[in-house]
Symmetry: C4
Subunit: 210 residues, 4 copies
């Protein structure tokens, strides 16, 4: 009877955990726009404004990449939590770790937009790629916490080996990008962007086999 | 049995997709206020403060227009998703495309507020209208993804031709506004504002026939 | 059968409307902190820092008043929507009007914090009180939309006259504060703060009769 | 019959209260990143950028501490509200008090990051610790409101004395940290950080006894 009480009183499964996470994702993805600055011009002309807007292309690219990154993280988070049956305290904190990295994303993005065309490109690109690496690691830690807490749905276990391989591959590839980012900043950042698209397409293919 | 498990485990329909989208809408609509700046005055007097506040009218107009735009998008998003029975991965990403444009809205709005009274008005207005065009296109893409994913409720299909016509008209009208915006900036921006009100009234009329 | 389908497909009542509104309330109430600025000091000493922090008291007062205002609006919004059984499109848009005023609150608050100790106090205070007046009017408009849309629960109607009187009193009192605010800025702003506390206590008393 | 109507019409328990609170937590925790500033460099070089980034270590530490603080508050809030069966108006307002302190957190954090290495460290550290003290007090006030409103689930009462002891200990320890913070700023701030980790581990231990 006590257990039944408990079940009735607590909200359905991970509702609040997901709501809180969704809030953080939504805010982080929306704050990115603050990096798109209205140009300050001494003498306003169509040509000058157009040139000033075009000169901000690293900011636009950074905005797009980070938006896509957070969107894909959200899609993956959504997909992961659909397979979970509840939460333990370690899951709350490992999920908090992921959210920490998500909220950080605007910082290396701004940094990279600002310095990618300067001598500081290597430093900025390393931080950018390291953030992506941290994201990949956070997903692994969440998955471990879910596995150890017996939170994964029964019908998912048949795909377990495949899912685990996918999770393991991420950190290795992002670690490679981080290593390449200092000598070859554009390559490192480009690799991260490519991996984001790749993981998005991969998970789409898996869901919709030809 | 496996399928039944799946149904029980996943949250009701599009709950998380809607919650995430609502978060983005709510933040984008609330961030608009950051464009209303406290005037910096050297010598404070009632007259000077009143004049400084009145001189910001493009910012107030931009705030109101963008607020109304995002509100109408939310109302339409709300109306669209009530007709859907679930989601596919393409729906998640096309919805993400809409959210991308929604989070961008504050940027062309700031730009237009800042430059509408200068020689840069044409450039700013084109970007403003192009953003509205992108919004209209994003709704079409979501609708397509929903249709192809067989996500539209059975009882909606009777109105299908009418709904589709409404969706198709948007991009054409906003494309026209974008074309007009460079030579006639105020006309372009005004047309976008008018279309927003028109679509809001139209959808109201449709729901409440005389 | 068609109607039953519709009922099953739509989310429970006002869930999304409330979620979107809660998002706006939560963001507006949290953005207020951006008005608390870290002082810029040429020569740092405990005395100088303490003095600089104390000199910002109008900002702290503005923060507290606006926080309390938005919290009370949220409590009242929560109380109002518990009495509603669903929504019509006019309710969506009148609720949008309330959210518009809620997102605006940080602007007159900043303005008042900045100018309340200067000759511009009257102008700022009028805008502050006018915003409160707009909030009270927005609640009246929502209530009207709910009443005309037959959205109010049956068991609430017995209190209808009393509730309506409460809603009507608000705009009159805030209009008075707005009139007083130009000649007597502190009185106007103080009256608004007092009314906020009064309405919060009143609604508490009503719920907990002695 | 009237009562049954009421129960069906109102949303499940504390859903909206939790959603609003989650929104505030999510925004407060995400806004912290705005304190991580892109360095402004006259002459850009890898060494200069690296040095400028490293020189911001108090900002990173402040970010991490505040993130962890808000995350732990959220976890505790989550845990507390799972034990409640509904809400009264006092619970809404005492919860509002907690949210007030949560939204304030970025301010003393910024202040401490800025002044911890200067003569103003004592003033900043006192405010930092006082905010943590206010958080602990707010939880006590919420718990009191819940207890007096008969909102605590029956099966929780067996742990009542233990839970109450835990709640009582917090304010005393944070008051001690506040007293120590003026003469020993780093000790005070470090004590607060330590207490946050301690409470997180403690509540984990309690849930997972060896």
């Amino acid at each position: 009877i006590a257990q039944e009480n408990l079940i009735m009183a607590e909200p359905p499964g991970n509702a609040r955990l997901e709501a809180f996470s969704d809030g953080v994702f939504a805010i982080a993805i929306t704050l990115l726009v603050l990096d798109l600055k209205v140009p300050e011009l001494e003498h306003v002309s169509p040509t000058a404004l157009r040139a000033a807007l075009l000169a901000q292309w690293p900011a636009y690219l950074g905005f797009l990449t980070s938006f896509l990154t957070i969107l894909i993280i959200w899609v993956n988070h959504h997909g992961l939590f659909r397979q979970l049956t509840g939460h333990t305290r370690p899951l709350l904190f490992t999920n908090g770790l992921l959210l920490l990295v998500v909220t950080v994303i605007p910082f290396p993005t701004s940094l990279t937009s600002r310095f990618i065309l300067t001598d500081g490109a290597g430093v900025a690109a390393v931080l950018y790629c390291a953030t992506q690496l941290a994201l990949a690691l956070a997903f692994n830690v969440i998955w471990s916490a879910a596995y150890r807490g017996h939170l994964i749905q029964a019908d998912v276990r048949s795909n377990y080996a495949q899912i685990r391989r996918g999770y393991r591959a991420g950190p290795l590839l992002y670690a490679l990008a981080t290593l390449l980012a200092y000598p070859y900043p554009l390559l490192g950042v480009g690799l991260c962007a490519g991996l984001a698209v790749f993981f998005a397409v991969l998970s789409y293919e898996r869901q919709n086999p030809a």
